[in-house]
């Protein structure tokens, strides 16, 4: 089974990964208008993990030979120009879009909503931890793509992903444990591989791999902690989701507790609401 997620195979899958249906439609509409609002174009690209990843992949590629990697769509726009970003987005949108729902039963909308919500909350937490606006944007990008590995796996091995989920539920084990048995790799590792393939900065690649669970030899970074906290917080704000707690040490490292954050839930709910509004408009 390990062979199904071999690196070369993964590279091809990532190269062929289409964008989300909402953004594909918006990009196609916007790019047919020579005078489209550049702010809207940036907003659409920023709200799609695939468009963001593939745009960053181009700007960070050897074609430009940058000494420091770019992790923000806005920075990419200033760096290579709006029209080039517009045509890149169009070239990605033109190949099609992700299906409305995956074969493993997860709708593309819920996946995107979770990605955007975790990104938005991670950005707020980063800012609370004292990171600058520009640095906090990296946390948003990390949140945006934090689950991309699960999407890649479910698109290409829907039956196996379904059985992973069933077994995890039946045996009350974390999904990544079962994934390791079935795929020999976890979706965290796949997310990290995808981010690497998209030439995202190393701190993001590293955080995606270890934010949920890190071995003792890996030093936890604020990005890992903010991602994990964001994930838990987003779940906690969803009345339908199972209850989650901050693991030991997380509150101490971040300097705030989950119950404190939940007392300010309105702040986070507003951020998530904005994401929902974007998706509805889209």
């Amino acid at each position: 089974m390990v062979a199904t997620v071999e690196k070369e195979n993964l590279e091809r899958l990532v190269d062929e990964l289409p964008a989300f249906p909402q953004s594909v439609q918006l990009v196609l509409n916007m790019t047919s208008d020579a005078n489209c609002d550049p702010r809207e174009l940036v907003r659409v690209v920023e709200h799609d993990p695939v468009l963001t990843g593939r745009v960053l992949k181009v700007v960070n590629s050897a074609y430009f030979g940058l000494s420091t990697q770019i992790s923000s769509v806005k920075h990419a726009v200033v760096y290579i120009g709006l029209n080039t970003i517009k045509h890149l987005a169009l070239s990605i949108a033109a190949v099609g879009s992700l299906p409305k729902s995956n074969n493993d039963g997860v709708s593309t909308d819920s996946f995107l909503l979770d990605s955007l919500a975790v990104g938005a909350v991670a950005r707020i937490l980063a800012s609370r931890c004292g990171f600058t606006v520009r640095q906090s944007d990296d946390f948003f990008v990390a949140g945006l793509v934090h689950n991309i590995g699960e999407l890649v796996l479910s698109l290409n091995h829907p039956e196996l992903v379904r059985s992973v989920k069933q077994r995890a539920q039946t045996e009350s084990r974390p999904m990544f444990d079962v994934e390791k048995e079935i795929f020999a790799v976890t979706h965290f590792e796949v997310s990290s591989m995808v981010a690497h393939k998209w030439q995202m900065p190393e701190n993001i690649v590293h955080a995606l791999r270890y934010y949920r669970k890190s071995p003792p030899e890996v030093t936890r970074t604020p990005m890992m902690d903010c991602l994990l906290a964001a994930k838990i917080l987003v779940r906690s704000l969803d009345p339908m989701a199972p209850e989650m707690r901050f693991p030991t040490g997380l509150s101490q490292r971040l300097g705030f507790r989950l119950d404190q954050l939940l007392m300010e839930r309105q702040h986070f709910e507003t951020a998530i609401e904005k994401v929902k509004v974007f998706m509805e408009v889209a």
């Binding site: 074609y63 806005k74 200033v78 120009g81 709006l82 080039t84 890149l88």
Partner: protein
Amino acid sequence: MKVTLWGTRGSIASPGPETVRYGGNTTCLSVETNSGQVIIIDGGTGIRKLGIKLMGSLPVNCDILITHTHWDHIQGLPFFIPLFVPGNELNFHGAFDPVYNKSLKDILAGQMEYCYFPVRESELNANISYHRINDGHTFEMGDAKITAILMNHPVLNYGYKIEADGHSFFFTGDHEPPRNIYSEEDEEFAEYQSFIDLKNEKLYRLLENIDLLVADSSYTTEEYKTKIGWGHGTFDSSLEMGRHVKAKKLVFTHHEPTRNDEALDTIFAEMKNKVRTGDPEIFMAVEGHTFDLSADD
């Protein structure tokens, strides 16, 4: 170091009695170092005449830097005679197209395909090589040092700084100073502006105290209001850039095809009135004019 302007017009060649003084050919410049080495920038229609001159001394060995591949910067290349002559050696340098994944060779060969031109790129007899340029990359060409920097245009456009014989020269190619797409009241404004500032700082550092700056000055400030995002600068933005980097000489180029000699005279007179003490000496680009930087020593 001598810099000659072989084409000063933007967008499309505009020959005729009304453009005879400033010229009607599209962008092409050449740099000749004191040792006789020739570096060409862009292959607009102006390159045809340069090719005839170079054929006077065979073999032709030179480098051609392409700022970007819009028509007005490459359409003269199929008529550049040195490309057809065996024994000549021509090295092209330019950007890779990341949108269509095309190399410079693919793009230049494209305009010589069967339906556009009778001779295909593969039938050219000179030894031709193609080299990809990276942003900020500095490399040597004979006794000249070249640095490429990404500018701002609706396609990837590299500006080139050439240093030789103790002098420096920079050509912007087509360039619109980047603008903030957000309004000051937008929460994204400051962050976006910080990226623009970074880009400008990098450019200004490279251009500091440049001897000769040739800059895209397609529009007047008034005209620019309806051309935002088209990828071109104004006379005022070029003066501002020249002033900021303390350029010694500033040349306004990429003349609008609709602008006749008289209109350029009028604009130049207005620009002269805007020049302050310490500003660069300004010039309107004139086809065929040579700036001999060594003569200033």
